[in-house]
């Protein structure tokens, strides 16, 4: 047997956000978040890398059907977030600051919640999601970190 293998697919979307924690004062927010605290918000071209793990299926020679994965990611992540203001238009970020950390956790949550509708119980598992807000940073969230 070949053991497990991981397949990673990268996706992109663009969105705006503002980093501002309502529990802290304005001066504290400016101090902590710097330019990211600008009241009018700002945007990024986000890159989302989705890693799937599982055995190689003999019939297809694959771990996962890329079209099924693409469809799930498109419906649950790309379409709801593409060209949106994350703070104003995405429910999860009414209560949480839309940092890449929290965005990564939200993407894992969305994929896990809908995973079973697309993939069978003995099929591929979501392993991790990595968010790159710019090409100079990366935030990885393991699927098992999120219930």
């Amino acid at each position: 047997m070949t053991g497990s293998i991981e397949l990673t697919r990268k996706y992109r979307f663009s969105a705006s956000h503002r980093l501002h924690a309502p529990q802290m004062g304005d001066a504290e927010n400016r101090e902590l978040y710097g330019k990211c605290n600008n009241a009018f918000g700002h945007g990024h071209n986000y890159e989302v890398a989705v890693t799937v793990r599982g055995p190689v299926e003999a019939r297809s020679g694959r771990v996962v059907d890329p079209e099924l994965l693409d469809g799930l990611v498109r419906r649950e992540v790309l379409e709801p977030l593409e060209h949106r203001n994350l703070n104003e238009e995405v429910e999860a970020f009414r209560a949480a600051v839309p940092t890449s950390e929290n965005l990564g956790r939200e993407v894992v949550r969305r994929l896990k919640q809908n995973w079973r509708a697309v993939f069978p119980a003995d099929g591929p598992r979501l392993e991790r999601v990595a968010i790159a807000e710019t090409s100079r940073n990366a935030f990885e969230v393991s699927a098992h970190e999120i219930e």
Binding site: M1, G3, I5, L7, K10, V56, R59, G61, P66
Partner: protein, 138 residues
């Protein structure tokens, strides 16, 4: 400590299962099932694990790793039609998953010494799709 070396090669392939019908193959593999084949610029990243030698300060000779990768993989895969010219792809579907496993199997016997043990193989089929294989023990 992990050390990764990268190399590129270009090759063509077809993703089809001969036990399936034309329609089933098209449904399963999409455009990749085109029997005439299509190509990719593959990027291979080979990661080796080990501790630096106290005298040389190196885990392994990277020149030797480059030569191994060239001899065992690039010279065999580069500018070839994988299904027709590179075993085992006359009978194994050359998906990136199976290519990663084959490259692991080709490299592993040469990278199993006390210094510089093969840790992982990453193969990019496109900049947006890659597969990692860490051997059958992982």
């Amino acid at each position: 400590m992990l050390i990764t070396r990268k190399v590129e090669f270009s090759a063509s392939h077809v993703c089809r299962n001969p036990q399936l019908s034309e329609l089933e193959n098209r449904a399963l593999f999409g455009a990749a099932a085109n029997p005439h084949g299509h190509g990719h610029n593959y990027v291979l990243e080979v990661t080796v694990e080990g501790m630096p030698d106290p005298v040389t300060g190196m885990v392994l000779d990277l020149k030797a790793l480059k030569e191994t990768m060239n001899r065992e993989v690039v010279e065999i895969y580069d500018h070839r039609f994988l299904n027709r010219e590179v075993a085992p792809f006359d009978r194994v579907i050359p998906t990136p998953e199976n290519i990663a496993i084959d490259i692991w199997n080709r490299l592993q016997p040469h990278l199993s010494g006390p210094r510089g043990r093969l840790h992982g193989v990453r193969i990019y089929e496109t900049p947006d799709l890659y597969v990692d294989y860490f051997g059958d023990a992982a």
